[in-house]
Symmetry: C2
Subunit: 349 residues, 2 copies
DNA sequence: CTGAAAGCGCTTACAG
DNA sequence: CTGAAAGCGCTTACAG
């Protein structure tokens, strides 16, 4: 039904080989024939068939992107970063979200063979064993936020632990000693690292304090419930550190609803620095994760692995987080090397 | 380098035809041979090559998604809706964002041939001419938010005009007569329709009033600037209607910075009902667009067109918008058939 | 500079 | 039930 290279060749009075060479800009074609072929291609509105090209060239110009979820600003920012870098490289994106189900990831991995040149994988719940079983060495891959050493693949990760430590120290320095935590899913690697950073930093500063850790799932309603829980407490913490911004925002809403003042009565801080963090009131103090960068860096690394598979080794890149102090923690906005200062709800400079 | 059907056939002692039949579950294979083949496939960790399969079956199980941009919650919600429906259908998504550049869209369209079974296209700046030139009838396509009659393709669109009319009437009913508007890009079809709805509804209600229309670009900073402009005005409007939520939020920030009270001094309302609209203070009154539904419906329509190309005709689906009254317009939350009532910053029931 | 031919990895009539 | 063969639409040595 659709027009093929054969028809172009026929119309131009040349062989398909010559058409192929002309359209791919190979040098060994007379300018005259080349021009004629290109003209015929235009007239016939010919476009080469991608699958056929890929089959013989072994290149697809597309990258498979496996994400755990499609929800919220974290993922849209990540995709944006990946997309921006991909455009520059002339690469396209084959997207797949597995909704936390590892068997979905397996299926997606399968369907991607022969359709992508490489894989970008973010699966906070995947284990080293899973990677070992499912990832063939034949296909270049870069992991995003995987546990260190999970696989022999390059990995780009955020310093989840370090960011949590930074935040605890900041809260403590500004006089908040009784800090509660709202955790993320405990089968989620990012969540676990953030919790670990919180625990270790706090117990170093306040060895005798047993912090309250409330269970959350990274979604806003669980943060809302945590906020309600805090309201009901006989002895309230003076700060709530949520493992991500969406839960911190939920917490903020619950406290506002109950008339608890933030930051006067209790500080509330988050993690990620999603765009919305600037817009809530009080504006959210948080740990800024360079989400779009994470995507960009991962894609660039993948491209270099595709070009030279030897580059895989030792390629674990850790992206630094940054404390962003806004209104919700009630701290004066100290300026030092660890703090990026933004006015409450302020606009980036 | 990677293992092929030939090697499986060899290892299982059968022909490639039989392997193909076994792995595709065709009936005409002995259970015994089938089992043996499947076992060999597992041992060899064989996965069929996608491009080769697509070349012969003419099916790719993937849908091309052309988006103008990758920025903001509108697009992440849209992708989420598309993705959810695609998963159910067992389809994958080949993503491409054209960043408003039509030549990018052309290039993306080209690369998609042979790689997708159909196209979902959202291009607020594309004209009927563009669609006519670039879209081959051979490839099923569904347009999202295209001008009515732009192309002979099925189209799923939001009632941009109607939503703007609803909002103007609501503001007017609650006593706001001097309404200013912050427009979107004037080469953007959605933006143009929203502006048209605003102008027509307002001039019907206040024939003598010449509303102020400020130029925006759908991004927050342009809303911020519009807010500053309002602040500086000698004679302030009593409401600002921004063509989307991000600009309304920018406007809110500018007014807050200048000490202008919302909604007491001026009402501010938006359009889209992105998730963030609930979280700003005052919470944003807005026109709710079923963004994720838009994606879901578009994908489902595309699937039906792929299955039966005759279904294209007359398939222009218009999705209804809904007024969402929150704190930023200062209206009492009247309950009637046109209003969905939510508490200020409230959580959906 | 150009063409005939082989081959990429599959699927599917067609025989048997 | 199984296999040999043709073919999907390209690209690329290999000749000339």
């Amino acid at each position: 039904m659709s027009i093929t290279i054969k028809e172009v060749a026929l119309a131009a009075g040349v062989s398909v080989a010559t058409v192929s060479r002309a359209m791919n800009g190979h040098a060994n074609v007379t300018p005259a024939t080349s021009a004629r072929i290109l003209e015929v291609m235009r007239e016939l509105r010919y476009t080469p068939h991608g699958a056929a090209q890929s089959l013989v060239t072994r290149r697809t110009q597309t990258i498979g992107v496996l994400l755990p979820d499609m929800h919220g600003e974290f993922f849209s920012e990540l995709i944006r970063g990946i997309d921006a870098a991909a455009r520059i490289q002339g690469l396209h994106l084959l997207l797949s979200s597995s909704h936390g189900d590892l068997s979905d990831t397996t299926a997606a991995l399968k369907m991607m063979r022969g359709r992508v040149d490489g894989l970008l994988i973010m699966s906070p719940t995947a284990t080293a064993q899973f990677y070992a079983e499912q990832l063939h060495e034949s296909l270049p891959a870069v992991l995003i936020n995987a546990p260190a050493g999970a696989a022999p693949h390059a990995c780009v990760a955020v310093d989840n632990y370090g960011g949590a430590v930074q935040m605890v120290r900041h809260l403590h320095r500004s006089g908040r000693k009784r800090i509660a935590f709202v955790s993320g899913p405990n089968n989620n690697h990012d969540a676990v690292e953030r919790l670990r950073g919180f625990r270790e930093a706090l117990s170093a500063l306040e060895p005798d304090y047993q912090p309250l850790v409330m269970h959350g799932d990274f979604n806003e309603p669980s943060g809302f419930r945590a906020g309600q829980q805090v309201v009901a407490l006989a002895e309230r913490p003076d700060a709530v550190f949520a493992a991500n911004d969406m839960m911190a925002i939920g917490c903020l809403l619950a406290l506002a609803e109950a008339g608890v003042r933030v930051p006067e009565d209790v500080a509330v801080v988050g993690y990620d620095n999603i765009p919305t963090a600037r817009f809530v009131r009080p504006a959210l103090t948080t740990v800024s994760v360079p989400i779009a960068d994470l995507g960009t860096v991962a894609l660039e690394r993948l491209v270099s692995v595709i070009e030279d598979p030897a580059k895989v080794q030792g390629q674990e890149t850790l992206l630094r987080t940054q404390l962003v102090v806004r209104g919700s923690c009630g701290a004066s906005r100290v300026s030092n090397s660890n703090l990026r200062v933004l006015g409450s709800g302020g606009r980036p400079a």
